[in-house]
């Protein structure tokens, strides 16, 4: 019996099936993706990267940065907390409302609580329960609000406030998602480390900025020149010992573009698809906005 047509049909179905699944369906889903508005401020997002940063993307690509760095923050779940922001005046009503939430709230605990508002009164609950709690508190004349916090190991590492979504890559061609994390995720590098000169020094000599870094230096993106031959606007401010005396290190245009690209990596605005909220600022204790940056020396 001639199995040729059958084999052809099976192969055709298998290949066209995967083509539909991997190419056609995502195209249907994402090809019409546009800029969107951020939640809260309502500004357009994303804006295209500035010209130099766009060139930097090609430098990033050419130097294989993507083989050690991803640009994709993963979110595992979303936590809801309830934060008490204003105690109001009706102590008895608020007290009984708080007791209803947690029987450990006695008058003494509540008095302590009252002194240090805003204070989280319900940890890690569902949105429905958090909303119900807020309603209960509001009825007692106090004010509370729900704090929505994305969580997951990437977010715990400080790599971003929320997960990455398709809009974040709208203007990137090609998208530098990356698949291996020898180094940290860079989806929000620009919000953690917004200093271009830091990136230039780090590219020239990574260990001067992060002691235990395993990143190789990219010194071919820089030029070591004898001081005085050509005037230079901005030589690198490197620690002594790295450069022989009488010489200076000057970034080539590629290095400048790459550093501009790195500081342009920010994906931390709130979109409809990635809800989160900033916890209420503590009155009189600084800005209340915590940085997601890891400790930088």
């Amino acid at each position: 019996m001639n199995y040729g047509p059958l084999v052809f049909l099976a192969a055709f179905l298998a290949l066209s099936g995967s083509w539909v699944g991997f190419v056609v369906a995502p195209n249907f889903q994402l090809s019409t993706l546009q800029e969107t508005n951020t939640i809260g401020a309502g500004v357009t997002y994303p804006l295209g990267r500035p010209g130099l940063a766009q060139q930097g993307l090609q430098v990033y690509r050419a130097n294989g940065c993507v083989s050690c760095h991803s640009q994709m923050v993963v979110q595992e779940r979303t936590m809801c907390e309830v934060s008490l922001t204003d105690f109001g005046t009706n102590f008895v009503a608020v007290e009984s409302a708080l007791r209803g939430i947690n029987s450990n709230y006695n008058a003494q605990v509540i008095n302590e609580l009252k002194k240090s508002l805003p204070k989280t009164i319900v940890f890690d609950t569902t949105k429905q329960k958090a909303d119900a709690t807020v309603k209960l508190i509001n009825q007692a004349g106090a004010k509370a609000q729900v704090v929505v916090t994305p969580s997951g190991s990437d977010i715990a590492r400080g790599w971003g406030r929320r997960r990455s979504v398709a809009e974040d890559y709208l203007y990137d061609d090609p998208v530098m998602l990356g698949g291996l994390r020898v180094g940290p995720d860079l989806a929000n590098l620009g919000s953690r480390l917004p200093d271009v000169n830091w990136h230039l020094r780090h590219l020239y000599a990574p260990q001067t900025e992060i002691a235990n870094s395993t990143m190789p230096p990219y010194r071919f993106l820089f030029e070591t020149r004898k001081i005085g031959s050509v005037p230079v606007a901005e030589p690198l401010n490197l620690p002594s010992g790295l450069v022989p005396t009488g010489y200076e290190v000057v970034p080539k245009p590629e290095a400048v573009a790459l550093a501009q690209y790195l500081v342009s990596l920010r994906a931390d605005v709130q979109l409809y698809s990635t809800p989160f909220s900033t916890p209420p600022a503590a009155s009189g204790s600084g800005s209340g906005i915590s940085s997601n940056a890891p400790a930088v020396k």
């Binding site: 595992e76 979303t78 949105k127 409809y272 698809s273 990635t274």
Partner: protein, 199 residues
């Protein structure tokens, strides 16, 4: 040469061998397949978000995503959007108006006063001299709000009454609808005196 496997089996006639190849697929396999398919469809239904482009893990549906959206926070986003698209061209984004173009809305007695009086201005327009905060203006405003829906118009009127330090009651879509019904057929803009007679 005889096949050792075949020879091990009981010597059979050709008919019996044919019968063996026609053995039925066991019924439990169908049941298992059905259950697996059912579970697969259920899982898809629960977790796919129906391929909506806004739904990402860990969210599983549009409804769940909507639940997590922050409260509007008293912010009248709709009114703000309409205002900045239409009204702000003349009255300015900050509601302070522009000289020789449009009077201010901030603190204006016409904005803070009666809702039905205020709603008449965008629905039919306003012409002729009018005194606002002690200053006389003599300009013409076309019926800029006539084409807006009741929801949009009430949102933008509320936005004017409650922004930039203005503090007045909100205007509901029903109020706008009632005024619009009263004005049906009117083509003339209001004058200051006519508006004064509106309660």
């Amino acid at each position: 040469m005889s096949n050792p496997i075949r020879s091990k089996a009981a010597p059979t006639s050709p008919q019996q061998e044919d019968l063996a190849s026609l053995a039925h697929v066991p019924i439990w396999l169908f049941v298992l397949l059905f259950l697996l398919t059912f579970w697969g469809m259920y899982y898809f239904d629960q977790n796919s978000g129906w391929f909506n482009v806004q739904v990402y893990t860990p969210y599983r549906s549009v409804a769940e995503l909507k639940l997590y959206q922050p409260p509007a926070g008293g912010g009248n986003e709709r009114g703000k959007a309409v205002y900045e698209n239409i009204c702000a061209l003349c009255h300015n984004v900050d509601g302070m108006g522009k000289p020789n173009q449009a009077p201010p809305l901030v603190g204006s007695e016409w904005v803070l006063g009666s809702p039905t009086r205020m709603a008449r201005i965008p629905l039919a327009g306003l012409a002729g001299p009018i005194t606002i905060k002690g200053v006389e203006w003599n300009l013409a405003m076309p019926a800029m709000g006539a084409a807006l829906s009741d929801d949009d118009l009430s949102a933008v009127l509320t936005y004017m009454r409650q922004s930039w330090g203005n503090k007045a009651s909100a205007i509901t879509p029903e109020q706008v609808k009632a005024v619009r019904a009263e004005l049906s057929g009117r083509s003339q803009p209001f004058t200051s005196d006519q508006l004064q007679q509106i309660p």
